[in-house]
């Protein structure tokens, strides 16, 4: 019974996360390549 409950919780979470992902993709707000003159992410390589 507990296992069934936990999988129901998983299903609800799955639906919620799918909704969030689809919303993100629809908004096209995923990462844009816009860093530093289209060359590099300077933070990543340790340069200010």
């Amino acid at each position: 019974m507990n296992r069934l409950k936990s999988y129901i919780v998983s299903l609800i979470l799955l639906a919620l996360l799918l909704f969030i992902l689809i919303k993100g993709v629809k908004l096209k707000d995923y990462v844009e390549v816009e860093l530093n003159g289209n060359i590099l992410c300077l933070s990543c390589i340790g340069i200010e």
Binding site: I22, D29, Y30, V31, C41, I47
Partner: protein, 296 residues
């Protein structure tokens, strides 16, 4: 005889995992930059998150780092629907399995650890550190408008800085170096030393992405199951585990990366993998091996 049989099974599962790990690492980093007009890849797949920690600034990367992307959205004050949806969806489906099978930085740590079998054991309670980092990262990035985790992340230095240091671009970039660069360099070198001495230290103690995926281990559709009544508590599972877990204590421990080594090393075959409640991998019972006979 028994020892050889178990060792062969471990080799087989390891080989399959290595093939998957290398395919993932090479697929994510399959861009060949133009040597003359050096620049990182900026095509459409760069908008997507990598299935693990793989630096955006790596000259070969075709995808973005999920943690870098998350910080990017915090800095630009947008709710990270896509990044949280992606991280959550992976977590709810397979838990932390991407860490064990697809993450290029996890593969790098495992390969460096092969230099020596000597290892230092660190208290498991330090595992909480990655959650502290995750909880601190969000407000710090929000209030400073700076991606602080990226500024210190050793993955960025190893996958991004080191290759760029070998490129023609470096002569120009090196003029912009400040003391922060040396802090980042020091952190990366310290971690490389740790990679030799400790199994997957970054994944166990630092990685905020692993921390997030680990939270889903208990509720994901793919789960581990242990028949504790038949378990001998021989600790062979811990001996081969890259995350140093005793799986019989907690089959869906937040650090378990589902590498499946324990499933095949267990002499009693008490560990199985479930998909939505039904057995997905359930090895047959084979004869017993003793602790110390098998190495990871």
């Amino acid at each position: 005889m028994h020892r050889n049989r178990i060792a062969n099974r471990i080799k087989k599962v390891n080989l399959i995992r290595r093939i998957v790990q290398f395919t993932s690492a090479l697929g994510i980093n399959s861009y060949i930059p133009d040597i003359k007009n050096f620049s990182i890849y900026q095509g459409p797949s760069k908008s997507l998150c990598a299935p693990g920690l793989n630096c955006y600034a790596c000259p070969f990367a075709r995808t973005s780092c999920p943690i870098g992307s998350l910080q990017h959205f915090i800095v630009v004050r947008q709710f990270p629907y896509y990044v949280l949806g992606y991280i959550g969806l992976v977590g709810i489906l397979v838990g932390r399995a991407f860490c064990g099978w697809l993450c290029p930085f996890g593969l790098l740590q495992e390969l460096i650890k092969k230099i020596t079998s000597f290892r230092i054991k660190i208290k498991k309670s330090w595992g909480i550190l990655k959650y502290v980092i995750l909880l601190l990262m969000i407000p710090v990035v929000y209030f400073t408008y700076e991606p602080w985790f990226c500024k210190l992340c050793p993955a960025g230095t190893i996958e991004g800085t080191f290759p760029i240091m070998l490129s023609p671009l470096w002569s120009e970039l090196s003029q912009l170096i400040s003391y922060r660069f040396f802090i980042k360099l020091f952190i990366a070198i310290a971690f490389i030393v740790l990679f030799v001495l400790v199994r997957r230290p970054f994944c166990r103690y630092m990685c905020p992405l692993g921390a997030m995926w680990g939270l889903f281990n208990r509720v994901s559709f793919v789960r581990m199951k242990v028949d504790v009544n038949r378990c001998l508590k021989c600790d062979l599972c811990q001996e081969v585990c890259p995350m140093d877990i005793k799986i019989y204590e907690d089959p869906n421990h937040y650090d378990c990366i589902r590498c499946l080594k324990c499933v095949y090393v267990c002499p009693q075959k008490v560990i199985e993998v479930e998909l939505a409640g039904t057995a997905l991998i359930k090895p047959k019972l084979r004869p017993v091996a003793k602790r110390g006979e098998i190495s990871g």
